[in-house]
Symmetry: C2
Subunit: 414 residues, 2 copies
């Protein structure tokens, strides 16, 4: 099997492993849910996650509420009510839908399970302000805080204390039923109290924190909002458990398994790559040269796995994306090496404003550039990775994949 | 022992291991030279290397010729003639000195050894043109080739064929005596036929290559030079062996030993790092985060070792160097991590136009910046790493070390 074919298989297996439905089924396989299951699914991938839960659990599901963005549902799912609402700006449909979810979980017993399926966009779609507070109140205080230069963490501290579902309060409504959260995370670092503002996770921020912020920024609130801020969010929750899945770590772990299966000893270098794209490529190429010359840090056949999201500081006006640029820069650094492949690919199937998901190069790519009269340096300088990769067959094209958990970068040596 | 103390010890042990005298003694310890030894030492470190050989071999040395740059010798060495000559432009003193070296090695027997000590600058200092050719002839053709845009490899192809010592010809003069070359290399990649134009290494370029270059660039040479170019350089040599030492690989290997001795499992990532300094720092920080969160790619305590030479594309007008900038960028990426140290240091003891050799940071460095009211981002943007490192005790200062084998960068986790 050629290394390029191996690479394609690794890409396809890795992305498949983090698709919402695959991720939900894999997570459910690890948790035995006895008794009746009530599903609440929120976020842009809510429909897919709920459908996968139905596939996996069937009639164990008593009922469910699915809250997703407009035009993001794909038809009926047995036992579930599918609702669409506003994102990124919350709207009345979101409030109504969230109230339906709250009714669903009130009055459950300790034998029941709430399966809480969370994906990106959940914070806007899943909202029910405390009694007396309106969406307008929340929009208003948010605007004031932004104007004062408050951080997103500070803004969320206030918002959580004004909400009847955020900051762990949703899990309180579910009690005594147990809540299993399955979280599809596109946030580097995976802080559970920040994803969707943590409806089923103990809140780290306190009522006092919220009140001090008003003081800090000199913001005067009407009495009904001041009163709301004085109510504490839960600091411990005994009825919750979590499964973070379909995130960049899962993407990298899938790449490790897929590499191993094809005979490449896998090494995970990082899941939080965030440097300039071209320099990540140069760095990886420097490791490739060492592997080929001294079998360090790994003996071929091997695969070094990286996840994260690099950045590109545009200087030219060419066509490309961060993954394509990383690959092109790497091509320069592995010029002439045999049995080396480096690829980088966006898990959502898109890289920059192009129809490609990323780029893939070998040690002979730079030579092919020279033969074709294409200057690798010039294309790099112009942020113009797409045309040269396209001409020499170095584009990775997957089409939209239905997931978005950052990028996967792999160095393969044989 | 604190990690910072460990780091300082690792830096000092690593640089000591690549000092010319230490490197020569270590190399000699691996080779048993029976019979009489004739020393020919060339290059800027020739005196130090020859003195080290005398320390190691004593009266086994029958005689020696040391050819170094003006003001680079430091007194007499028993049995050796110390000669100084022109560098980087060769001069008559270089020719005379080289002829003395040639006389020394003529008429040796197969029981004798020539110990050939090579360091940077050897190409200019060690030259003896073929009969009939003058230094002026060589300067003239070099100028013409440069004007035509010829590459340094092409220029050396011509020069080797005009020389009586380059391109392996020195080793021919030594035969039947055996030649052990000990090469102190400051060239990334260590190509033996290019270091000092390879006096004791089989030449890869042919007489035909040289003649074709004249055609390619349309250069007309006088008959005596044409005739010289038609003489072939040796393509195989049966009387030579090599020891490359005091190079960046030796620097990294010493860092590995020093780390291991202090309880950090060492991993060599690369000896040819060449990316943008700040992004190498960011990349390394991303690996640090992974090690601390998932014990991948290595379980602490561990040390990841990198050698090479990063680059800085200046945007600001601050004070710093590539090693200091790498360290400062890394500080940002390891913000808040405990038991993490990243340092980067130039083996010659200087980094950019500063009195520091490099920078060293921990996970608390970024917090110390905030407390001191210093903006890490702003200093990075201004290429102004020196002042902030100096203020917070993050400079590495060694003074001139007497060697130059690129930079050493290490990530330590405990």
């Amino acid at each position: 099997m050629s290394m390029l074919q191996d690479a394609k298989d690794i890409i396809s297996e890795s992305i498949t492993a983090v698709l919402p439905d695959v991720a939900v089924k894999r997570a459910l396989a690890r948790h035995k849910l006895s008794g009746l299951v009530y599903v609440v699914a929120i976020g842009k991938a809510a429909w897919k996650m709920a459908a996968a839960a139905h596939d996996a659990l069937g009639d164990k599901i008593a009922a469910g509420v699915v809250i997703t963005k407009y035009e993001h549902s794909q038809g009926p799912i047995p036992h579930m009510e599918i609702l669409e609402a506003g994102h990124p700006v919350p709207d009345e449909n979101g409030l109504t839908a969230t109230k339906k979810a709250l009714s669903l979980v009130e009055n459950l017993t300790e034998k029941d399970h709430v399966l809480f399926l969370v994906s990106g966009g959940g914070s806007a779609l899943f909202e029910s302000p405390l009694t007396g507070i309106t969406l307008l109140d929340i929009a208003d205080i948010t605007k004031k805080l932004l104007a004062c230069g408050a951080s997103i963490v500070e803004i969320n501290t206030i918002r959580k204390h004004l909400s009847n579902v955020k900051g762990g309060r949703f899990a309180m409504h579910c009690a005594p039923a147990h809540v299993l959260s399955i979280v599809l995370s596109d946030v580097l670092g995976d802080s559970l109290d920040s994803i969707a503002s943590g409806p089923a996770y103990p809140d780290r921020s306190t009522s006092q924190d919220a009140l001090l912020l008003l003081e800090k920024y000199g913001i005067d609130l009407p009495p009904h909002m001041q009163a709301a801020l004085k109510l504490e969010t839960p600091k411990t929750l005994s009825n919750v458990s979590f499964e973070i899945t379909g995130n960049v770590t899962a993407l990298c772990q899938a790449a490790m398994s897929a590499s191993k299966k094809r005979g490449y000893s896998p090494i995970m270098l990082t899941t939080t790559l965030d440097s300039e794209a071209r320099d990540a490529g140069a760095f990886l190429a420097a490791i490739a040269r060492e592997i080929k010359s001294s079998s360090q840090p790994a003996t071929p056949p091997c695969a070094l796995i990286l996840g994260g999201e690099t950045v590109v500081h545009l200087k030219g006006c060419g066509k490309g994306g961060r993954n394509q640029e990383l690959a092109l820069a790497a091509a320069k650094g592995i010029d002439g090496l045999s049995d080396v492949v480096i690829f980088s690919v966006g898990s959502d199937g898109t890289d920059g404003p192009t129809d490609a998901a990323g780029g893939i190069v070998t040690g002979s790519f730079a030579g092919q550039c020279r033969e074709a009269g294409l200057s690798l340096d010039q294309h790099l300088q112009d942020n113009n990775s797409y045309p040269v990769l396209k001409t020499l067959g170095g584009l990775i094209v997957t089409g939209p994949t239905g997931t978005n958990v950052n990028d996967l970068t792999v160095l393969m040596c044989r």
